[in-house]
């Protein structure tokens, strides 16, 4: 059976009019093309990373896909529906998390938000209870279900938000910067959960992020948008091939040692403090941080390590130069 794409955008445009003051009374009108001529489609069940610099048009696209914003031109279909005309119908089939905004009831215990959302989505009480039980279990929410949302830590709140977006078992999950501001451990737990959730329910995923790790772990395809236009559409490895977006592992060693060259899949890009700190660049998709660390550990004792991510802005800039 061939299913129709979960998202289908053709020639999608959105302009904004920006007024800037010119002296006391006059104002200049300027049209900004936030999204210009985007064409792409996402297959049912796929996981796609949507990346771009700040102001590239990511959030504008997401708002059009979810029916919150009306396109200036072009067409878009999400779950086979025209989003802004069938916004409410669509909202039953998708779950959205805007990482910087909350869909939870701020001054009430977390549990109340789920009660409200079960009613909003008209879920059968027994099914809602079972689904919530599953989410509480897997996202580890039990210890703060009775805590008012305003008292939750960021990591707790984001887990609560994800559960809220998934309570009605949507076909498509849209995450707008879900891991922003989270610590490494919280990010990792969230990623593990999302991978399991998709494996169990076949949920399609559209993810915007600044974190290349999110893209690598959660998605199989990357769309890069720049100044409202599609700059790249392919796999992460393909993107890395084009722009050479490498990650750098910085290792602090217990004892100084000569440059760690010839570690498989890496390139030694720096030796500091007489060999106490070394920088190894590697390409995600060809090797993993764990493999690099294991290879390094065979030759020296590692005291501490950090991984420097390729900057999205940098990736986009290189992409622009490579074209």
């Amino acid at each position: 059976m061939t299913e129709q794409p979960i998202i289908e955008a053709e020639g999608l445009c959105r302009d904004f009019t920006v007024r800037t003051p010119l002296g006391r009374f006059r104002r200049a009108k300027r049209t900004v093309h936030a999204v210009a001529d985007l064409t792409f489609s996402v297959a049912h069940g796929a996981a796609v990373g949507y990346i771009g610099a700040n102001g590239a048009g990511k959030s504008t696209t997401i708002k059009m896909l979810t029916g919150i914003l009306v396109p200036t031109a072009g067409t878009v279909r999400t779950c086979g529906l025209e989003p802004h005309r069938r916004r409410k119908e669509l909202a039953r089939q998708i779950g959205v998390v805007f990482g910087q905004r909350s869909q939870l009831w701020w001054d009430l215990p977390l549990r109340e938000s789920y009660r409200a959302l079960a009613a909003v989505h008209d879920l059968d009480p027994a099914r809602a209870r079972a689904r919530l039980g599953e989410l509480v279990d897997r996202l580890d929410l039990a210890s703060f279900l009775d805590t008012p949302v305003r008292q939750l830590s960021l990591g707790q709140r984001i887990r609560g938000e994800i559960a809220a977006a998934l309570l009605h078992s949507p076909r498509l999950l849209v995450l707008d910067e879900p891991t922003i501001g989270l610590d490494v451990l919280s990010k990792e737990r969230l990623r593990v959960f999302l991978v399991e959730e998709r494996a169990a329910h076949g949920t399609s995923l559209l993810l915007t992020t600044h974190d290349m790790d999110d893209v690598q772990r959660l998605t199989e395809r990357v769309l890069v948008v720049d100044k409202g236009r599609m700059a790249f559409d392919g796999t992460l490895t393909g993107l890395v091939d084009v722009v050479g977006a490498q990650r750098v592992m910085v290792v602090d060693l217990v004892e100084a040692c000569p440059g760690l060259d010839q570690v498989a899949g890496t390139e030694l890009v720096g030796v500091e403090a007489g060999g106490l700190r070394q920088r190894l660049a590697f390409t995600p998709g060809r090797t993993t941080a764990a493999q690099v660390l294991a290879a390094v550990a065979e030759r020296a004792v590692v005291r501490d390590l950090a991984i420097e991510e390729p900057d999205i802005e940098d990736v986009v800039r290189k992409l622009y130069l490579a074209r």
């Binding site: 959030s59 919150i68 914003l69 409410k88 959205v96 910087q100 869909q103 009430l108 909003v120 008209d122």
Partner: protein, 267 residues
């Protein structure tokens, strides 16, 4: 079934949200009562200076009017409310729009929950104070209370829909303080919260009568006191329903326009 379920849950949430702030409620009730005392004293003084009766109010009914308005201004919410405008301004409205619900209805449900919570804790203290200080002239039959309760409910709805309309303006206006102040002043002047609309000179009374504001305070209090009964009472209720329909539809149209044409702010 489904819209009703959602409405009921949002009403319950509105109730619970406000019940979470006990101290604020107590402080509000105290303020209402103190201002009730001031208003009742002024009202009684004015009626005394007018020779013991003014436009159908004697000292006791005048004081009752003052206390009753103080008792219902919290549930009716005659003050500035900009929660929705803030959500529009920050872009949090996107979260509301991502839900399969009627935005105006869910906000109305939440506001009714708020009002339901506030009726007793914000209404009883001024009335108890009134009964002790000046005495209250309240009807002895059930019907005025029934009609009054209905008028109060409609008054809350009219007030909510007016506030909704003012807040929706945030889609177009970045700075809402001017409009909000104009609105609060208009409510203060024309709703009957300061002095009964019946005391207005006729030209001012017709301005008030052409506005929805008397439907918020004057009408519920007139019906609760039994000042208006029978067919005229039904006519006042009909006027309230008319305002609900007109401002309600205007609010729906305004929301649709706002969402269509205007930017959801922020990333």
């Amino acid at each position: 079934m489904h819209p009703l379920r959602t409405f009921a849950v949002f009403t319950a949430l509105g109730f619970r949200r406000f019940s979470a702030y006990r101290l604020a409620t107590a402080a509000g009730a105290f303020t209402n009562t103190v201002f009730g005392l001031i208003k009742a004293s002024i009202t009684v003084g004015v009626i005394g200076a007018a020779g013991g009766e003014l436009a159908g109010y004697d000292a006791l009914t005048g004081a009752t009017y003052a206390w009753l308005t103080q008792a219902i201004i919290a549930p009716v919410q005659i003050f500035a409310w900009d929660e929705l405008a803030q959500r529009i301004r920050t872009g949090d409205i996107a979260v509301d729009l991502a839900r399969p619900v009627d935005l105006q209805m869910t906000y109305l449900a939440g506001d009714l929950g708020r009002a339901a919570f506030q009726v007793l804790p914000r209404g009883l203290p001024p009335l108890v104070a009134g009964a002790l200080v000046t005495g209250l002239a309240l009807p002895h039959t059930a019907l005025p209370y029934l009609l009054g309760a209905l008028a109060l409910l409609l008054g809350v709805v009219v007030s909510f829909l007016c506030r909704w309309l003012v807040n929706i303006a945030a889609f177009w206006l970045v700075e809402l303080r001017g409009l909000m102040t104009l609105y609060v002043v208009s409510v203060g002047a024309f709703s009957g919260v300061l002095i009964p609309v019946h005391w207005f000179p006729s030209w001012l009374a017709s301005v008030a009568a052409a506005s929805p504001f008397p439907s918020m305070v004057q009408t519920p209090v007139d019906l609760l006191m039994g000042r208006v009964e029978g067919a005229p009472a039904l006519r006042l209720l009909a006027v309230q329903v008319l305002w609900v329909l007109m401002i309600g539809v205007a609010g729906r149209v305004a929301l649709r326009r706002g969402v269509r044409t205007v930017v959801v702010q922020g990333g």
